[in-house]
Symmetry: C2
Subunit: 142 residues, 2 copies
């Protein structure tokens, strides 16, 4: 395989964006090279993932996000507002070890987010339907 300009742009975009959906990567790449097709983005992401240069994480709702491999931490996704926080995998303590011992399950903590309510949303109270439904804050970004 060759590190083509398109693939390099995709890798750069992933590194710069931190986490990004294929759609967002596409936008970014097209800022530099407008003709690059979304198909190429998907293919490049798959390939870069096979090479171990990027990984993807499921944040809960629709699209997975891609990030550079070096960027390794556990994601905390708020299912009220969609905010994603990042924490050191060390917070998991010996969970990985216990799952391995008890269930034979080898945890990859960075691949999926942990879901819950972020500080801001907890502070905002448990109301299900905010009186003034703040746009961009829909449940799970539908």
């Amino acid at each position: 395989m060759r590190m083509t300009p398109q693939r390099q742009l995709v890798l750069d975009a992933v590194r710069e964006l931190g986490h990004a959906t294929p759609e967002q990567v596409c936008k970014r790449v097209q800022g530099t090279a407008a003709t690059v097709n979304i198909t190429t983005i998907y293919r490049a992401l798959d390939l870069l993932e096979e090479l171990g240069l990027v990984r993807h994480t499921h944040l809960g709702h629709g699209a997975p996000t891609y990030s550079a491999e070096e960027h390794e931490h556990v994601h905390l996704a708020c299912h009220r507002c969609g905010e994603v926080d990042e924490v050191d995998p060390a917070v998991l303590g010996d969970l990985g070890r216990r799952l391995l011992a008890e269930r034979g399950f080898e945890l990859d903590a960075t691949h999926l987010a942990l879901s819950g309510l972020c500080r801001a949303c907890r502070a905002a109270g448990p109301e299900q339907t905010p009186a003034d439904p703040p746009q961009q804050h829909a449940e799970e970004h539908r």
Copy 2:
């Protein structure tokens, strides 16, 4: 709202299936009432979720799965074979408490799966491309 036959069938299906995608729920319901439309399944699932009778969990790949509310545990999803194991939320130990204290993040451990490699896939070894690619065992069920 009324507990219509369709909605009852959807709820029953979710309870019987344990975890199921909307598609699977639809198949099941149509076993009893063939004319029920997939649209109705989606609407019923949303509604039952608002009522707190079912919840959905993101297992990592495409479709979310629905399960009955009483069915509460942490999911371990294998990203090699797609198997989903279930464990008692107690395995998480004080993780929830620590995240709350350190990050103000209120964990809902049942909403997202933990991802990793199941015992069987670990035993099968780390080969990326099995010599005999077992169908139904694609990475993340693409």
